[in-house]
Amino acid sequence: MKILINKAACAGNARCAAVSEELFPLDDDGYIAVTEVDVPPGKEELARRGARACPERIIIIEEDK
């Protein structure tokens, strides 16, 4: 599973990081630091919750095929 983030549209709500700082690392300004994350096994539900928490709706989960 992959997390894909439209970083340019991040408005710094930091709601994803409130779900998991590990999956959704922020920069020093509090904006998302990455555009793509490979979700480690066992963290899939956390990744989905973090994606849903984004008020900007810019986090997409790519499920394994």
Binding site: A9, A14, L26, D28, G30, A53
Partner: protein, 418 residues
């Protein structure tokens, strides 16, 4: 005089606005709204069009639905935050005789992208989740002190005694403004925000008054920097140039308005809900870890800010024809009560799966202070649960409210058993 008589006069409807989109609502003085704001908002959500035009306060659009608010907030080319166009502002400044006070421009809130980010970026670090977390212990100590000061009495007027001093003291300290002028600052801000004037130019003297009230501190920090935001802003560069006193005034008016009259009202709405729902209090007392989730649902259920926008060009937005220079209100409280987005939106539901509200707005102007606000809200709810027994509204003195760009609580009398 009846309350309805205070409603602002209606202006004529522009020709391009169809009758079906006209709905009479005074966002400052509608009597039912001022009596119990979120009840009236639920009524509007049910009965008014998802985007409507009201003839009150000079005539303006109200964006009600979640989609309209979400899309307009992110479309800054259609919905501008620059109420006085740049060319006009430049002409006004050019005509000012030498020695006249600067016209403060609240930055970054009244600047559109891409210019917006050059003013916003310098502030982001001090308001980032990490920086704010470092303040949590001192916020907790202040909240505890305030709650303990009324604890043995069995009652308090929550707004004046706790909701106002807590965030205001935190913010003045962050900024570096003197705490002993707290009452004076609060008075200036609440007057500013309760002014229904639809003309941006009429706001200029008020912004100048705010800037003037901070000027001594600006100068003092320039000459003798401390560990605060005003000192930090003196050290930054904008467009490669060091900050000027005019820049400081621009930042100052925004931080002042946004910091001194927002969180306290959020706290007021939340604590009123808790006071009316002892079972929710019991739940949170039994399980304080639920406070952050409870805070999010309180923010959704009682979203309380109404940011204005200026339509920047003739557009058709979600099927509605709007003309350049018309005003549109992002009615975020209605967006977060939109049943299309939140099932049974009127119900406070701690277990609601989707609590993804836009109380802090969406898009580039997302509330800069949202992380501070969240921590303050969580801390005060935690402290109230930990220090006070079950509290309720004083049935003899029901809460009172004010409406406008901030939907706020004026008084909130609480009682508890001692």
């Amino acid at each position: 005089m009846s309350a309805a008589a205070n409603v602002s006069p209606a202006v004529a409807k522009p020709a391009h606005v169809p009758d079906s989109l006209v709905y009479d609502f005074d966002m400052f003085r509608d009597p039912a709204y001022v009596a119990d704001p979120h009840e009236r908002i639920l009524d509007l959500v049910k009965n008014a069009p998802p985007i409507f035009w009201t003839p009150r306060n000079g005539g303006h659009w109200m964006l009600m639905s979640h989609s309209a608010n979400f899309n307009a907030s992110r479309d800054t080319e259609s919905f501008s935050s620059e109420f006085i166009p740049r060319a006009e502002m430049a002409a006004m400044k050019a005509k000012l005789p030498p020695g006249m006070p600067h016209i403060p421009l609240p930055v970054p809130i009244n600047v559109d992208p891409p210019e917006h980010s050059k003013y916003r970026t310098p502030l982001q670090r001090v308001f980032s989740p990490k920086s704010i977390l470092a303040l949590k212990d001192s916020i907790n100590a202040l909240a505890t002190e305030l709650v303990d000061s009324v604890k043995d009495r069995g009652n308090c007027e929550f707004m004046k005694e706790i909701a106002e001093p807590m965030p205001v003291r935190v913010f003045l300290k962050m900024l570096g403004l003197p705490l002993d002028r707290q009452d004076e600052y609060r008075e200036i801000v609440s007057q500013h925000l309760s002014d229904p004037s639809s003309d941006a130019r009429a706001m200029i003297p008020k912004l100048q008054r705010i800037a003037a009230s901070m000027n001594d501190t600006f100068i003092a920090r320039r000459d003798n920097p401390q560990d605060d935001i005003i000192s930090m802003l003196w050290k930054i560069e904008i467009d490669g140039k060091p900050t000027t006193i005019e820049d400081m005034q621009n930042y100052g008016v925004l931080l002042f308005i946004a910091g001194l009259d927002t969180v306290m009202n959020g706290i007021g709405h939340g604590v009123r809900h808790l006071a009316r729902n002892p079972e929710l209090q019991a739940q949170l007392r039994a399980n304080p870890k639920m406070v952050p989730e409870a805070t999010e649902e309180l923010l959704r259920r009682y979203t309380f800010t109404v940011p204005p926008r200026m339509v920047a060009k003739d557009i058709v937005f979600e099927g509605v024809q709007m003309k350049a220079r018309e005003r549109a209100m992002l009615f975020l409280p209605a967006a977060d009560l939109d049943p299309k987005e939140f099932a049974n939106s009127d119900r406070y539901d701690l277990n609601r799966e989707n609590k993804v509200h836009i109380a802090f707005n969406a898009g580039p102007h997302r509330c800069l202070g949202s992380h501070l606000a969240r921590v303050e809200l969580q801390v005060i709810y935690e402290v109230l649960m930990a220090r006070l027994p079950t509290f309720r509204l004083d049935s003899q003195r029901p809460p009172t409210f004010h409406c406008g760009h901030v939907v706020g609580v004026d008084s909130l009398h609480l009682v508890w058993d001692v």
